[in-house]
C-alpha cells in the first residue's frame, strides 16, 4: 500500500556503464556539475583531449602520399588479421590503460552515432565538449603519440602528413570548435619545416606538437629553423608527454601505475632541461612552449633542481640571463591534467611557482582514464575568480588567438530522453 503513495524512484537508463554507453550519459554528472557552477557563462577551452585515430585508420592510410606505401597500407588494412594498424608502433602499456576493464571509456567508445553528415569523431568530440562545458577542444591523436620511437623515421613523416591531411578534411573542416596542434615528424627536422610552412597558416591549426617520447635533443642545431618558422608564425609549440615502457630507465618498473606515473613526466623533464639550459627561450624569445599532460608536480621540482645547480655551474649554461625557473615561469605554458590534488598545500605552492594565473591552461585529456573536469579549477579554494577564468579558457584564448564567444550548449547538451 505504501508504494502507492510514496514517490517511485526512476531507474536510470544505464545501470552499468560500458563501452557502448553514450558519452552524454557517461558524463552527465559532469554536465550537471558545470551547470551548477555557472560554467555556461564561462569561456572554457580544453587544451588537450584525444580521439582514437586508429578507429579510422583505413581512411587515414588513404591519405599517405607515397603511392607505394599507400597501396601497401591500404592492402594491409583491408586484409590483415589480428595485427596492429599499419605503421604504428604503439607501446605495450596501451593494453593496460583501462585497469582490466574497470574504466570502460578507456577501452573503446562504441556508442551509437546516428548523424552521418559529419565524421563520427566530430560527433563524439561535440558530445564531450557539451558535457564537460568546453567551448573549444584541441584534439590530439592517441597511438600516434608513440610514433617518435618508430625505427623508420620515414614512417613518422608518412603518417604525420597522412593524419594531418585526413584530420583537416574530416574533423577540422566539420566544426570550428575543434582545433589541432599539428604533429611534427620531429625525427626529421626538414620535414617539420615543411609541415609548418604547409599547414601552419590554417585557422584550425593553433600550433604544433612534438610527441615527447623520443630520443632527440631538442636543442640540436637542426631544429633551429623549425623554431624560427614557428616563432615567425606566432603560434606555440607543444611537447605532448607519453610513456615508453621499453625505455631503459623504466626497465625495472613492473606496474603500469608506476610506469605511467614516471614515464609521462620523465620525457618532458628531459626535454625541458635541454630547452632551458641551452637557452632556447633566449634564442627565440617570442616562441611560446606548452608542456602537455605531465601534470604539474614535476615543475616545482625541476625549477628548484635546475636553479640550484645553475648557480654552481653557470659557465655550463652561458646563454641564460635569468634563473632557469624564471624561463620556466615566464616563457613556458602548462596544461593542468592530470592535476595532482592529494596535497592541497603543494598544489597551491605549484600554482604560485608557475604563475598559474597567466601560464596555466585547463585540459581534460578526455577520454583517457585520468581525465579532469573544469570543476577541478572552479573548486580550488586558493584561486580568485579571474585566475580561474584565465586557467579555464582566457589564457588559451590569448595564446591561440581564439575568440571568446561562448559556443557550448550545456543546457541542451544532455542525452535526449527515450
Amino acid at each position: 500500500m505504501k508504494s502507492d503513495v510514496t514517490p517511485r524512484a526512476i531507474p536510470l537508463r544505464e545501470q552499468e556503464i560500458s563501452i557502448f554507453t553514450d558519452t552524454r550519459d557517461l558524463l552527465e554528472h559532469s554536465r550537471r556539475d558545470a551547470m551548477k557552477r555557472g560554467l555556461q557563462d564561462w569561456f572554457v577551452c580544453d587544451v588537450d583531449a584525444h580521439h582514437v585515430e586508429t578507429v579510422s585508420w583505413k581512411e587515414v592510410v588513404q591519405y599517405i602520399e607515397d603511392p607505394v606505401v599507400r597501396e601497401n597500407a591500404m592492402n594491409y588494412q583491408q586484409q590483415r588479421i589480428g595485427a596492429p594498424p599499419y605503421g604504428l608502433n604503439g607501446d605495450l602499456g596501451l593494453r593496460y590503460q583501462s585497469v582490466g576493464g574497470r574504466i570502460p571509456h578507456q577501452d573503446d567508445q562504441r556508442e551509437k552515432v546516428e548523424d552521418t553528415s559529419v565524421h563520427r569523431d566530430v560527433t563524439l568530440t561535440r558530445r564531450a565538449m557539451n558535457s564537460l562545458g568546453a567551448d573549444y577542444m584541441i584534439v590530439f591523436p592517441t597511438p600516434m603519440l608513440f610514433l617518435g620511437m618508430h625505427p623508420q623515421p620515414e614512417m613518422e613523416i608518412w603518417l604525420a602528413r597522412a593524419y594531418t591531411r585526413w584530420t583537416m578534411d574530416k574533423i577540422m573542416a566539420a566544426d570550428d570548435r575543434i582545433k589541432t596542434l599539428i604533429y611534427l615528424p620531429f625525427n626529421t627536422p626538414s620535414e617539420c619545416v615543411r609541415m609548418v610552412e604547409e599547414f601552419g597558416h590554417l585557422k584550425s591549426v593553433v600550433g604544433f606538437t612534438v610527441t615527447s617520447t623520443r630520443y632527440k635533443p631538442v636543442h640540436h642545431n637542426d631544429y633551429m629553423p623549425v623554431y624560427a618558422r614557428i616563432e615567425e608564425l606566432g603560434k606555440p609549440i607543444a611537447f605532448h608527454a607519453g610513456y615508453h615502457w621499453q625505455d631503459q630507465s623504466l626497465a625495472t618498473v613492473n606496474r603500469f601505475l608506476g610506469m605511467h606515473a614516471l614515464g609521462f613526466v620523465w620525457c618532458n623533464m628531459v626535454h625541458m632541461t635541454n630547452w632551458i639550459l641551452n637557452g632556447i627561450p633566449e634564442r627565440f624569445p617570442r616562441l611560446n612552449s606548452i608542456w602537455v599532460e605531465s601534470g604539474l608536480a614535476w615543475v616545482p621540482f625541476l625549477m628548484q633542481r635546475l636553479d640550484d645547480q645553475y648557480l654552481m655551474r653557470q659557465s655550463e649554461a652561458p646563454q641564460l640571463k635569468r634563473m632557469p625557473s624564471d624561463y620556466m615561469r615566464e616563457n613556458c605554458f602548462y596544461t593542468t591534467q592530470p592535476m595532482e590534488v592529494t596535497h592541497k598545500k603543494a598544489l597551491e605552492n605549484t600554482f604560485e611557482m608557475i604563475n598559474a594565473k597567466t601560464q596555466l591552461m585547463y585540459s581534460s585529456d578526455w577520454p583517457h582514464f585520468d581525465f579532469d573536469l573544469p570543476s577541478m579549477i572552479t573548486d580550488l579554494p586558493f584561486l580568485d575568480e579571474q585566475s580561474k577564468r584565465n586557467i579555464l579558457g582566457l589564457n588559451a584564448a590569448r595564446l591561440f588567438n581564439l575568440p571568446t564567444d561562448l559556443r557550448k550548449d550545456l543546457a541542451g547538451g544532455g542525452v535526449p530522453l527515450g
Binding site: M1, K2, S3, T6, P7, R8, A9, I10, P11, L12, E14, Q15, E16, I17, L26, E28, H29, D33, V99, G100, G101, R102, I103, P104, H105, F369, D370, F371, D372, L373, S375, M376
Partner: protein, 121 residues
C-alpha cells in the same frame, strides 16, 4: 527527507543492483551477501557515477612467509564497485576505498518494509 520506493525486495537478486533517480539525486541499491546497501551515486573523487560502475572482487597479493610473492588473487569476501570515470574502488559493504579508508561513499538511508525497498534522500 523524502522516501522513495525503489523496488520489491524479491526483485533485487544477490549481487544485483538498481541505480535510481530520486528527485535531483541518484542512489544505487545493491544486495551483497544478503545485505542491502544504498549509496549515493557520486564518487568521492570527482562525483562520477560510481554506482554505475563494474563490480570486481578486491584484488589481493598474498605474501609468503619468506617475503616472496608469486601471484595475485581475488578476495572471497570483499566486493568492490569501481567508478567508471577514473577507477576509484569502494567496498560495497563499507563504502570505503581499499587503499585509503578516509575516502568513502556516502551512504543513503534505506528501509525494507512489507517486502518493498525504500530509500530516503
Amino acid at each position: 527527507m523524502t522516501e522513495y520506493y525503489v523496488c520489491d525486495d524479491d526483485d533485487l537478486a544477490e549481487m544485483g543492483r538498481l541505480v535510481v533517480e530520486c528527485g535531483d539525486k541518484q542512489v544505487g541499491v545493491f544486495r551483497v551477501q544478503g545485505e542491502i546497501h544504498a549509496w549515493f551515486n557520486r564518487c568521492a573523487h570527482m562525483r562520477g557515477p560510481v554506482c554505475q560502475g563494474r563490480i570486481y572482487r578486491r584484488v589481493l597479493e598474498p605474501v609468503a612467509e619468506d617475503g616472496t610473492v608469486r601471484m595475485m588473487q581475488q578476495s572471497e569476501t570483499e566486493i568492490n564497485i569501481v567508478c567508471p570515470w577514473h577507477g576509484y574502488e569502494y567496498d560495497l559493504k563499507t563504502g570505503r576505498h581499499p587503499g585509503n579508508p578516509r575516502i568513502a561513499l556516502r551512504r543513503a538511508e534505506h528501509v525494507v518494509r512489507e517486502g518493498k525497498i525504500y530509500v530516503r534522500v
